[in-house]
Symmetry: C2
Subunit: 217 residues, 2 copies
């Protein structure tokens, strides 16, 4: 892995490169030029070269990128080979949907337990055990999870996060709608705000509808 | 609404401003300086002034921003007053989770129907009727929805999207994991890739864990 720091905006673009490269691999395509990749991804070739040059010269002049090598290197940079032990807090619909449908392993995580405050008896979702929140501290002492996914209401989020930090959690995937930034730089928080994405859509639909109604006049 | 075009990167930041301003309103805070807002949001005051000046001078020197006026203006710019009629395709766990927990109205949408290919009988989720996909075209003729939320598998996404465009859909909130960009600029697509967000978290956790292990040595 390169020692120099890659900017977070480049990092945030890497999963998208990896998705497109993954599709190419499935189609048995071994190499691709920055121009072809740019067309697929609706980017400019120079943006792609700039992004991918951040972590070493994969592209060879007149050859393009080796799809498999680039895919593997991006996976490694993202730490997807580490398979960090992960717990999920909150077994409501969203927690269930993630447990059933999200490919944790592909994203670099191993889901090892689910916790819910209202869960009376031990059960499971998709083969992952569900525990009552009372069992959390004991479970963490034994299993040492690194990451927690918060699928709990806004009002409890900060309190639960503090408890989890005491239990050794180093990263949060936060769906609680309560954005929190921690002063502790040794803890990573990735806030997911689905409503932000939908409001961006609202803006764009609004633009289209206004344009259409102007044309109709 | 201002006539000059606001860049999409500013638009994407507006929902976050709106969330913080909404929290301030709940606390009955009437005005805030760019410096105070910057501290809350972990941004710089100059970034905030630059973003918010895009659509008119809300800040007054020595007074700060009027929280309510700014909140309302951002809502209006995002088109949240329009309440576009919306349908959801795919009544699996993710579709159910969104129907039950997502605040569509706050995000500028009105959910009026749910469609599923495997749904045999009319039912409802959270008071919203679920129909079989066969009813889609008739429903759209009568009710004229503007937006569709795709909670369907990757393999069907493009085909279903084409059908929906024929039915008059102008915007997609796409959870299908199949990213699609349409050549038609009169259709808006907002792709949601939860795995991109989790891979970004993986990178940051990996950084923290590597740093910790270096310190331990």
């Amino acid at each position: 892995m390169p020692k120099e720091k890659i900017s977070i905006s480049v990092i945030k673009r890497l999963p998208r490169y990896r998705r497109y490269l993954g599709e190419l691999l499935k189609q048995n395509i071994a190499k691709i030029s920055s121009k072809e990749l740019a067309e697929m991804m609706k980017l400019t070739a120079s943006q792609i070269r700039q992004d991918l040059n951040c972590f070493g010269g994969f592209g060879q002049q007149g050859y393009g990128y080796n799809v498999k090598a680039l895919y593997d290197e991006i996976s490694k940079i993202l730490g997807l080979d580490k398979k960090y032990k992960t717990i999920l807090i909150g077994a409501g619909n969203l927690g269930r949907a993630l447990t059933l449908h999200f490919d944790f392993e592909d994203a670099g995580f191993e889901l090892i337990g689910i916790f819910d405050a209202n869960y009376k008896e031990i059960g499971d979702i998709n083969g992952i055990k569900v525990y009552n929140m009372e069992e959390l501290e004991k479970f963490c002492e034994i299993n040492h999870p690194t990451v927690a996914i918060l699928c709990i209401p806004k009002c409890n989020a900060k309190e639960v996060a503090d408890l989890l930090i005491d239990c050794g959690i180093k990263g949060f995937w936060n769906f609680s709608q309560k954005e929190f930034a921690l002063d502790n730089s040794d803890i990573a928080v990735e806030n997911v705000h689905l409503s932000d994405s939908m409001m961006t859509l609202s803006y764009r639909v609004n633009e289209i509808m206004s344009k259409n109604s102007e044309t109709d006049e």
